[in-house]
Symmetry: C2
Subunit: 413 residues, 2 copies
Amino acid sequence: MIGEIIAIGDELISGRILNTTSYFAASQLFAAGHEIVAMMTIGDNPALIGQTLINSLERADFVVVTGGLGATTDDLTNAAVSDALQRPTTFYPEILENIRANSKRTPKQVQLSLEKLAWLPAGAHALKSDAQMAGHFLVHDGKPVFFLPGVPHEMKELLVETVISRLAVWEGEDVREVRQKLYRVVNLAETEINRQLDPLAKNDQRVRIGYYPVFPEVHVSLTVTGHNGSEVEELFKEQNRQILVLLGDDCYGTDTETLEEVVGKLLTRRHLTLALAESCTGGLVAHRLTKVSGSSGYFVGGVVAYSNNLKERLLKVDRDILVKFGAVSAETARAMAAGICAVTGADYGLAVTGVAGPTGGTDEKPVGTVYFGLAGPGKTSDFMVNFFGDRWQVQEATAHYALDLIRRELNSF
Amino acid sequence: MIGEIIAIGDELISGRILNTTSYFAASQLFAAGHEIVAMMTIGDNPALIGQTLINSLERADFVVVTGGLGATTDDLTNAAVSDALQRPTTFYPEILENIRANSKRTPKQVQLSLEKLAWLPAGAHALKSDAQMAGHFLVHDGKPVFFLPGVPHEMKELLVETVISRLAVWEGEDVREVRQKLYRVVNLAETEINRQLDPLAKNDQRVRIGYYPVFPEVHVSLTVTGHNGSEVEELFKEQNRQILVLLGDDCYGTDTETLEEVVGKLLTRRHLTLALAESCTGGLVAHRLTKVSGSSGYFVGGVVAYSNNLKERLLKVDRDILVKFGAVSAETARAMAAGICAVTGADYGLAVTGVAGPTGGTDEKPVGTVYFGLAGPGKTSDFMVNFFGDRWQVQEATAHYALDLIRRELNSF
């Protein structure tokens, strides 16, 4: 089905809050076979809310509206929708009952203010009877309209648990088949990947290939559409095979797989452990590894050695090396990697030392100069890269490069 | 002036990429005194691009369009705009010249593909003559329309350096005055803050107060508007004063100030240093502190002691404590804090140990149980909190709480 998403909230249009819910909804709906043609973000403005919803209902088969359903005085969505669709605001005692019963841990004071959540446009149904949160839907001119809270985790829960399943059984559903896959690429520029892959999709309207730089990597998407399931499947398989061959080892993963998850899987499969010695990334590499559940199985820990003192004390880096070559040097990176291996007993030690900026750069070692050390069974190596950008970019690119270094090392045997 | 923002790209409506550029543009334009009424996100669909731009031009005084200007084959914005506004696509050799001259470091192969960047709708002007990137504007029916690249850092640079200054000198600019401030609050729920502050804005159309949960904190925004500058200023000052009194110490900062920046300023002002011993946050607290430029002045480093082995080896936590009380305990948290202080010589040692989940919880210590240790001059203390949510939420909330602990400690003397 064709859908549109409307996100409501003054905080979203003034740039105080980044709208992540529409993005999440679009990705989930797309994966479920729907097509989102437009996402609108507007303020808590009743007239605009009403007009936007009416316009969307004219173009789309369904509409998802997020935000403005809460208990505070700036939440205006329900009143605006009641006006626009001429569905008088109605009190639903059973909805209030359920919300109260399911939010038992909430203090009395807050409980009282929940009443507003049960005043909804006529014809509304709760999306989930055991929910502790706002969330309802109604059918207008034969089209379903879903209203979800703007708070990301509440919205995500309701979308996944209720909206997608209701749409799947909706009468008159479009049977168009869509297959999509995302390829995550490191080390290649967007235009270079485009040059390599572009001939693939030429002259076939059913195949669409997109290129999206998502710093510090590039994502390539393959979308195959058609009305015949087996035809789509076959074309998708062949395109997928060719893309994987062309991208080779620079494609580290597909779809939602992250670089840290791929590194974790490789370490787990080979029964190896990793320890970190970070300077300029200040804990970012460790943070990325430990975002992954189960990382304690292969990541033993690490040291954030921001000062030379800690490099000596905790990583046993020789003072002579620090004095002779400097903290930002290949020699120090190797000594840090070997040091964290020795101290922790991990199979691999990965070290990062560099100039994240904006200060601290010199003519010889400008901002963005980063040395990497990798100590593993029987060998220690070092790498140097000059990254460009501000402090955030240098730190993010460095952490990504470090994770990719260990990935390539683990893939090499 | 009243503006609208249109973001273009298939990657944005299918949920492959989060649209951060519209958010950034809205915040910058709002800060410059403009009002954004709507932000539209649409795919690389020429007909929809044209129609959306025409609709926006009917409602707004200016429009900012981002994305689809690049050199790859899926970039369709310029062709779509040429059609919709009936401005034939025209080749601008001087624009190509400039882009080539300014991207000297780009390899020849890529240089060749840049030609597409110089085919623009008739009447277009480059936004910046020394830019290495796409970016132009045209005036249609007396209204400026800006076209910026979709790549976030390029878009941000052009918006800040060129769009905002051009709008500032635009004829017929609206002289409406806007003052805005954002308050960042920890430890209080959105509804509780609403209850405390709501009487402030009652019955005054010039004052708007908004409440936005931004996990794990809540942001409160104050917006004062009017046509008389000094009246707005006076009203803003009084409202600001009252809000600060009501929020008290739970408001850690305002506007763009982050919790890690506030902690950094307090440590710098008091000439104190901090070291970290992290278990369940896995480097996240260190990463947040080191995102701040200049953090090496007060943050000496830390240990990510994910395993018990590292807690003993690097933090000198007594094995007896680990065995008797467990790794997740008040006693271990205190020992970790004292240990990192002793090992690094920092003035303060902050330790975190807990169960981030989704596995590892027990009846006694369920997922979300976190102990904090704080060792400082002359005393060591511990704190325990039960956080709710998934692994990501527990880690983020824990890191936030840890930073807030040291903030309150530094504010207490």
